[in-house]
């Protein structure tokens, strides 16, 4: 009969329509905005309303997410070399960058003109960068990583879209906080939490090296700074890849996620707020 097909189709639309209200009914009087609820709403089997109320709730991006790159530097409270670059100006990232948007100035000794393995300046033109992640993938020193901060909208590009070293540098603990599993994997590969050169140096002198997975017997282990209470702490621990299986077995429970100080959380939040505030002021100005 003519029209049955249309009715069947409209049935589907009607179901979709009602589905969007089912949740309201099911969660009457219950807290709808909990993390579990968000997970269910944004999961594989979700149906009904699944809109992300963006500025009020944001989908946290997964660990491997790539946006513009940033440079890893030591934390400010690192005992030996606070704020020191991890980058050794080896130039590999500039060589693997497909659109060639990385410029590195290697440091030179002013007297002897011999190169010093440190970047004097480091630029990434984010108007060219294609967020491909090759630089992070091939950097032998784990010194350049893909950032998760995508909120970069701006009113002007001339001044700000070439990121210089100041803007690119972020502490190692930041990297650990946004990508705990990946940072852990890399630390396993390096043989310790610190920069590979430091580890090698320490191994030579016999000093203790803070090993991922081993007890925290080192004088310095970069802290991990979770931002949110709801962040499931086990996530990081269970995300151990099969690749590092040997160490993984011992390490699975030892990610010091819980240790994170409330203080740091507050700082982080304040920083985010300040950033937001600054943007707002920009907008008005």
């Amino acid at each position: 009969m003519y029209g049955v097909g249309i009715l069947k189709g409209l049935g589907v639309t009607i179901r979709h329509f009602f589905n969007t209200y089912v949740e309201d009914l099911r969660y009457v009087g219950k807290k709808l905005n909990s993390t579990q609820e968000f997970e269910r709403r944004q999961g594989a089997g979700s149906s009904g309303i699944y809109t992300v109320q963006y500025p009020e709730e944001k989908i946290a991006v997964p660990e491997r997410f790539r946006f513009v790159p940033f440079l890893v530097v030591e934390d400010d409270d690192h005992p030996e070399r606070p704020g020191h670059d991890w980058c050794t100006a080896c130039g590999i990232c500039a060589k693997v960058c497909p659109p060639q948007c990385i410029w590195i100035v290697r440091m030179e000794d002013p007297v002897t003109k011999r190169p010093i393995p440190q970047p004097e300046a480091f630029f990434i033109d984010i108007d060219i960068c294609m967020n491909c992640g090759f630089c992070a993938e091939f950097c032998p020193f784990d010194a350049i990583k893909m950032d998760h901060d995508y909120e970069l909208a701006d009113y002007d590009r001339t001044g700000v879209h070439i990121h210089d070293k100041d803007k690119l540098s972020k502490p190692f603990s930041y990297w650990r906080s946004i990508a705990p599993t990946t940072a852990w994997e890399e630390a396993v590969d390096r043989g310790g939490w610190e920069h590979i050169d430091i580890i090698k140096q320490k191994q030579k002198t016999g000093a203790p090296v803070a090993k991922p997975g081993a007890a925290w017997d080192s004088p310095y282990v970069p802290p991990i700074v979770p931002v949110k209470e709801e962040a499931p702490a086990e996530a990081a621990a269970t995300g151990v890849p099969a690749a590092g299986a040997a160490e993984a077995a011992t390490a699975a429970t030892e990610m010091p996620v819980e240790d994170a100080a409330k203080e740091e959380r507050r700082k982080k939040r304040e920083a985010a707020l300040a950033r937001k505030h600054a943007k707002e002021q920009d907008g008005e100005g």
Binding site: V52, D127, E284
Partner: protein, 274 residues
């Protein structure tokens, strides 16, 4: 009131007649006006490249620009307030884009979505790619990323809303479509042997003359741009001057100033007339 003086209305010191005291709420007209404008920004249904896919995803149910009053994507430039330049702008395409931009009614906004629209993107070096749409039409908000995720795009849209909020009716530089009328149309580029921006005709003529006279012309000569040292970095060996440079484009800056003065002059002329 025979002629509405907008500056007066905006003035919070606007005296309220005694008999009306207490019966009247005063808000700034700018506020109401901006609130209604920013809550109904209609983007143009217009996708260029990869970023357009993310733009569509943003408009779809999961991120839902309807929450910002932006779900009405208009296919016609005449009905839209916002042009989201979502993707690589090629020389061939910039001609229609400029036309579309000229056809949009004031107030109009341009959002450059993605690296390509902002500054050329990964394909910048290509012979058919325009290094950023802002070389042809003014851009209000830049959203970096390749592609910006839907959340990043919404972030940009919110930034645009803030920009609208910040515009004041009292300042005709902000709202030139009031009083001084719409801004001049952008001259439409011409597809010759390469794309020609009519605004650069003088320069092109100069270069062509140089070429005819057998002098060096065209490209790959360093223009004398002022450079400044942006940062000094402490190295192990002490302070070292960095020879990395960032360029201040004085010409562009002067151009911007001139345009601004022009707008101010037009505004003055308008005010004097009324």
């Amino acid at each position: 009131m025979s002629s509405l003086d907008l500056r007066q209305l905006h003035d919070t010191e606007f005296p309220i007649p005694d008999e009306m005291q207490g019966n009247l709420a005063i808000t700034s007209l700018s506020k109401v006006y901006n609130w209604s404008r920013r809550s109904s920004v209609w983007p143009m249904l217009f996708g260029l490249a990869c970023c357009a896919i993310e733009m569509i995803a943003t408009a779809a149910a999961r991120y839902d620009t309807a929450r910002f009053g932006m779900e009405v994507m208009r296919a016609s430039p005449r009905q839209s307030d916002l042009m989201i330049v979502s993707g690589t702008v090629t020389k061939k395409m910039v001609v229609p884009i400029v036309r579309l931009y000229n056809q949009m009614p004031e107030p109009k906004y341009v959002l450059a979505m993605g690296a390509c629209a902002s500054g050329g993107g990964p394909f910048k070096e290509g012979y058919n790619v325009v290094s950023g749409i802002d070389q042809y039409v003014p851009v209000d908000v830049y959203v970096p990323g390749c592609p910006p995720t839907p959340q990043a795009l919404i972030n940009g849209l919110i930034a645009l809303q803030k920009k609208i909020d910040g515009q004041s009716l009292a300042n005709m530089d902000d709202v030139p479509w009031y009083g001084v009328g719409p801004s001049d149309p952008v001259p439409i580029p011409i597809l010759g042997p390469d794309i020609i921006d009519p605004r650069q005709m003088g320069l092109i003529r100069q270069q062509a003359m140089a070429a005819a006279a057998g002098q060096p012309y065209g490209l790959r000569e360093l223009p004398t741009v002022p450079m400044k040292i942006v940062s000094k970095t402490a190295s192990a060996a002490g302070m070292v001057e960095v020879d990395a440079i960032s360029v201040v484009d004085e010409a562009a800056e002067a151009d911007r100033k001139a345009r601004r003065q022009d707008a101010v002059a037009r505004k003055r002329a308008f005010l004097a007339k009324s």
